[in-house]
Amino acid sequence: MSDVAHAHGHDEHGHHAHPTGLMRWLTTTNHKDIGTLYLIFALVMLFAAGSMALLIRAELFKPGLQLLHPDFFNQLTTMHGLIMIFGVIMPAFSGFANWQVPLMLGAPDMAFPRMNNWAFWLLPVAGILLMGSFLLPGGAVAGGWTMYPPLYIQGGISYDLTILAVHIMGLSSIMGSINIITTILNMRAPGMTLMKMPLFCWTWLITAYLLIATMPVLAGAVTMLLTDRNFGTHFFNAAGGGDPVMFQHIFWFFAHPEVYILILPAFGIVSQVIPTFARKPLFGYASMVYATASIAILSFIVWAHHMFTVGMPAAAQLFFMFSTMLIAVPTGVKVFNWVATMWRGSMTFETPMLFAIAFVCLFTIGGFSGLVLAIAPVDIQLHDTYYVVAHFHYVLVSGALFSIFAGIYYWLPKWTGHMYDETLGKWHFWLSVIGMNIVFFPMHFLGLAGMPRRIPDYALQFTEFNQIATVGAFIFGFSQLIFLAVVLKTVKGGAKATSKVWEGAEGLEWTVPSPAPYHTFETAPVVK
């Protein structure tokens, strides 16, 4: 973003080729450059996968097939899911981690800058493999982002490419996680004890641990799919003595912690934003850390609640139902703590705070529908219906995505040195929050009424709610163009931001100037 290193007078005899333009970004090992790259990648992918969602909603505006062939529809739903998870939410959180973790800890850079560069540049490769598969004969992968065999075994070449892309993204996540863990543990400034770390660092530390524990499981699972497809093994093929349901067990053993990987950093961001605008310290900091750890531990023993309908014994259903319900307790602790942080504060409502409040409210709706789905008999009725679609979009759009918006508005002045346009920011917020609810709230009713997910066409009684959802989707989708405009406008210029930016802001990142210089904390700050 901003490069002040050029400003220093020095003689440069004997320098070699100048990395310019593209080469500058390809070879950069600066945590701020890499953070920016991650965020740009996530933004591009957000618009790509968002356009797919709009195509899906356009097809579903009316019963009957209007725009899309059913097979292409399945390709869109699959790719929308894969890209939103692995190409938008995860890279965006990695971008925040790269920018903020060293700033918050008073470290000069990440522990392994070169590895950081590799971890980022693997992502566009995977992105190109995924998006490019639309052009292959037979089109992109259409078996759902969960990749269940035997359907996944039937597909063409793009299915193998998707497995390769998942491997590449997994490698990237592991390198990123190792970097974040070592940075947080080893690069803290003197006096920055673990207990003084901002909650964002804590949530990312736990997230990185979850990634390291579960990524080999995903890699193994997709590799077994690959060998089943191409080398005649029978891991998941019943005809050869395998078990297709075991894939679901292995997959969800990875993917349930993955769900928390997608939400814990969001908790971290919101826990930074709310105290700032309430002008009051975070309520129950220690409890927040313990609740995060508790959620992470529980995430390893609840995976089978994604598969209550595969037909498991009653005892197994009870086990997974009880342990899933318990997750509501630490999650509730977090929500109560956020509300208690606002209680008797001195609040102002700038855009980051608005997104954070919407996060607390709407994420809780997603939490309640999660509790409904935790009850096994109700889940069996609602599994694979639009109720589930509504549930995870409340968690991932008004949860993860809104926290990302909150974080961008919160730290953008620090990154660029310019204040964003508050009026445009508010427009973005209100259109997003209204649009988002119009899209996803009616989906609860669709699911209750019995509309299955992943269908390109539906029975007549589902028409009205689908039409409402489609209208909402276009409002929500197009209001993201405002977000793009705000970001571009802020990068280009605007009112100068002070180093503290927000009146109530606390933490090391607000002690460096805005924009944050290319290099910060060469000399470690001393934290008291």
Binding site: H10, G14, H15, L185, T227
Partner: protein, 156 residues
């Protein structure tokens, strides 16, 4: 990279070492906790017959081991440059061992070599056609500042 410059009576001392907040024992425990988690899960799936998880856990633990090894190797490293009177003394410890070099201040030149303006710069203390790199644990900006400081110090 703490306390990069210290000035004692009459002498200019530059001392730097990589940032390191964990002790060796703590590092080892963090590594084994991570490795045990990944391996435990992989062994569980292998016992059920889904052994292909195991090689990936192995690769990941390998990467972790390399990373923690690199951290530990950095741990005891330091470099010190002292200018006292006419003597310039360099002392360092790196992954491949310790070293010491004494130079005569009048013959010393500071060379900086950047692959692009202000980026990927290395600075070395040269004398008699032979250079020793300094400021390895700083990054570019601080390194260039160090070069400027050293040049002004050596001119006197």
């Amino acid at each position: 990279m703490d306390e990069p410059v210290r000035e004692t009576a009459g002498a200019y001392v530059f001392h730097s070492r990589p940032r390191c907040a964990l002790s060796q024992g703590q590092e080892r425990r963090v590594f084994w906790t991570l490795a045990a988690g990944a391996f435990g899960i992989a062994l569980g799936f292998s016992a059920l017959g889904y052994w292909l998880v195991l090689p990936f856990a192995g690769l990941e633990v390998g990467l972790l081991a390399w990373a923690f090894d690199a951290l530990r190797a950095r741990e005891g490293n330091y470099e010190t440059l002292t200018i006292e009177g006419d003597a310039v003394v360099l002392e360092w410890r790196k992954e491949d061992g310790c070293g010491r070099r004494e130079l005569n201040r009048r013959w010393v030149r500071i060379e900086s070599d950047c692959s692009a303006p202000g980026r990927h710069c290395r600075i070395s203390v040269c004398s008699h056609g032979c250079g020793t790199e300094v400021g390895q644990y700083l990054n570019d900006e601080a390194r260039l500042q160090l070069a400027a400081t050293l040049r002004s110090r050596l001119q006197v």
